[in-house]
């Protein structure tokens, strides 16, 4: 049981405005991911919720109660740090037991809880070691166990998988999702990895320079980015953006190409626009009624697929293609566009000019 609500969080470090009015509403039991590049204020947001950072303005409500001035210990939250912050002088057992010791649990309760946690995370044989004798993945599990050993209001996780190698990261992703499902607890999870965000989250908040850009389900954020920046940040390879404007029933590109004007767009005639095209919504193999003329720029074979770089005017457009695709640079080709899945943004404000609820 635990809802976390942050409202209008502001925090500056000297001249740097780390948080500029961040508001988040985390429902009970949600896996809520805060996504953003480094320096976006993700960690500061999490630390503010935890009570480790004194806010310049804003409030934090936990289970509907104002906890803005509460000490971290009074908030009943657990946190996994990016550096893990395992106590170096203590054994793994003592590390995991620490939150229970702070709450004056009996020795038998502690032993039982630590044993249960170490089984859940497969670290039974590490209990008598010290953090210095653990590998990165083991430290990560111990840090997780220390957070999970009691049942707090919510779990805060600060890029817990960032320091792991790729294979372990993928494993832990699945494991964390499993743990979340089995506990049914509220997770607030900070990451700069959009794959983590899209694969694990119920809800994603995209953060940039201390402001929330968009909050929504992973599908919403990916399919209907609120602005050009979110569209560019979420998705790999990154979305291709082409300058254009609407003219009658056509979309006219700055480099002379034309496409049918999408019906879902709310753009005005002559308004400077950016057409956002995701690599998987483009094709160099199939024919369709909407296409862009271009020149093959290069191929990036990725094993399961090949990304074809096509130069349209002066812009490089990335197109996802089958791994068998071939071509020579300089070759002229047509890029077929799935206009129903394209995005239009105002070139000046960056905001989406799509009809709501498309």
């Amino acid at each position: 049981m635990g809802t976390v609500a942050a409202h209008g969080l502001c925090k500056s470090f000297g001249k740097v405005q780390a948080l500029d009015g961040v508001s988040l509403d985390v429902p009970d039991g949600a896996f809520f991911v805060v996504l953003g590049p480094s320096g976006a204020g993700k960690t500061t947001t999490l630390r503010a919720i935890a009570g480790l950072e004194k806010l310049d303005a804003g409030s934090v409500h936990l289970d509907g109660r104002d906890a803005t001035g509460d000490a971290p210990a009074e908030r009943d939250l657990a946190m996994v740090f990016q550096s893990y912050a395992l106590y170096p002088r203590h054994t793994v057992y003592e590390n995991i037991a620490s939150p229970l010791r702070a709450r004056r649990c009996s020795a038998s309760e502690i032993a039982a809880a630590v044993e249960q946690m170490s089984r859940l995370l497969h670290i039974e044989r590490l209990l008598q070691r010290r953090p210095a004798q653990l590998s990165g993945g083991e430290m990560q599990r111990v840090a997780l166990a220390r957070a999970l050993v009691r049942s707090p209001r919510a779990f805060l996780m600060d890029e817990p998988l960032t320091n792991l190698d790729l294979k372990l990261r993928v494993e832990m992703r699945t494991e964390l999702t499993r743990i979340h499902r089995s506990l049914g607890a509220t997770f607030v999870y900070v990451t700069n990895d959009q794959v983590e965000a899209l694969s694990m989250a119920d809800q994603v908040a995209v953060l940039k320079e201390g402001t929330v850009q968009q909050v929504g389900t992973p599908t919403e954020v990916y399919e209907r980015p609120a602005n050009q920046w979110v569209a560019g940040f979420v998705g790999s390879p990154p979305i291709s953006l082409l300058a254009c404007h609407a003219e009658g029933d056509r979309l006219v590109g700055a480099q002379g190409w034309t496409l049918p004007r999408p019906r879902w767009s709310t753009a005005q005639d002559g308004q400077p626009l950016l057409l956002g095209l995701r690599a998987e919504d483009l094709s160099v193999e199939q024919r369709g009624d909407a296409s862009l003329p271009g020149e093959l720029y290069g191929l990036e074979p990725l094993g399961d697929r090949t990304v074809v770089d096509v130069q349209v005017g002066t812009t490089i457009v990335k197109v996802k293609a089958r791994p068998t695709v071939t071509g020579t640079p300089g070759e002229r080709l047509q890029v077929t566009v799935d206009l129903d899945r394209a995005h239009l943004f105002d070139a000046d404000t960056g905001l989406s000019v799509s009809e709501a609820g498309r």
């Binding site: 912050a85 106590y87 002088r89 702070a102 220390r146």
Partner: protein, 303 residues
């Protein structure tokens, strides 16, 4: 006791500076190096050797011309005189040594008790004008004691701290405090604040978190800092000679100095007292050496 600002507050790993291409120049150079170092060592150590010899020579040998380096009669009489008075009771010097132990010990404890929490606070919290405050704290050490001793004498006379051990303890603690804060801040900076953050989320208060997780990691730093403070208080002469006068309060440095003068000087006694006085410093310097290595390498270990 030269700890530069950068060493005391370094955030990055300690780097090994000043060892560029020592091998250059080859054999001739290293012979010259050894020769020069030998000369230097002899010059530096000769007074120490002379002190030790004098302390175990009989009085007539002390004044022998030419001086006798070897073959004099060894006596422990002077060492006995350091501790036992002519009447068989406790000597004035032994009282002075006890005073020194008390004053140096108490002032070090006081400076450490105040300085370590202050250093922690300066390291961990956002304090307004932190750099200016730290500079101000350090600036109190810019003046040599002799500059401030007159005003302090006048102030002490007003409040009745003249010729009291408490007065010396307070002034030494005040003098050691900036040093303790600066040196300890460097050590605290090296301990990640996340341990405390994690402990607070575990359910501890900030002070409990500091006591449980940060303080134990600071012990080597505290030991090194305290030994420096102890050596300063032990050796201090200017304040001691100005602010104390009676035998029951005086510390060892002015007491030993007081042996010299008058019509005759018992050099044997002076030397023996000096040896006794130097021993604790030697022991502690050895301890500092060990801890200083720990202090220097603390930042070099990747966490």
């Amino acid at each position: 006791m030269a700890v530069s600002v950068d060493e005391a507050v370094s955030t990055g790993p300690a780097r090994d500076r000043g060892r560029p291409a020592r091998r250059r120049g080859g054999r001739g150079r290293s012979v010259l190096e050894v020769a020069l170092l030998t000369v230097l060592a002899v010059v530096m150590l000769f007074p120490v050797l002379w002190m030790i010899e004098t302390s175990i020579k009989e009085n007539r040998d002390v004044y022998a011309v030419p001086a006798e380096f070897f073959g004099f009669t060894v006596t422990m009489e002077h060492f006995k005189d350091v501790f036992v008075g002519p009447d068989g009771g406790r000597s004035a010097l032994s009282v002075a040594f006890l005073n020194s132990v008390l004053v140096a010990g108490a002032s070090t404890v006081l400076a450490t008790l105040l300085g370590v929490p202050a250093a922690w606070a300066y390291s961990r919290f956002a304090v307004k004008a932190k750099k200016d405050q730290l500079f101000f704290i350090l600036s109190t050490r810019f003046m040599p004691p002799v500059v401030v001793v007159i005003p302090i004498f006048l102030m002490y006379r007003q409040v009745g701290l003249i010729d009291s051990k408490l007065g010396l303890i307070l002034i030494y603690a005040a003098y050691n405090l900036p040093f303790t804060i600066w040196m300890m801040k460097g050590f605290v900076d090296e301990v990640p604040s996340e341990y405390e953050d994690a402990a607070m989320l575990d359910g501890y208060t900030r002070l409990q978190a500091f006591r449980r997780h940060t303080l134990p990691l600071l012990v080597p730093g505290i030991a090194a800092t305290a030994v420096f403070a102890l050596i300063f208080s032990w050796n201090e002469f200017v304040f001691a000679i100005f602010l104390t006068s009676s035998d029951s309060v005086r510390t060892a440095p002015p007491a030993i100095a007081g042996l010299i003068g008058g019509t005759t000087t018992d050099w044997g006694l002076v030397a023996a007292a000096s040896v006794v006085f130097a021993l604790p410093v030697l022991v502690f310097a050895y301890l500092v050496r060990k801890h200083l290595i720990a202090g220097v390498t603390l930042g070099a270990v990747r966490r």
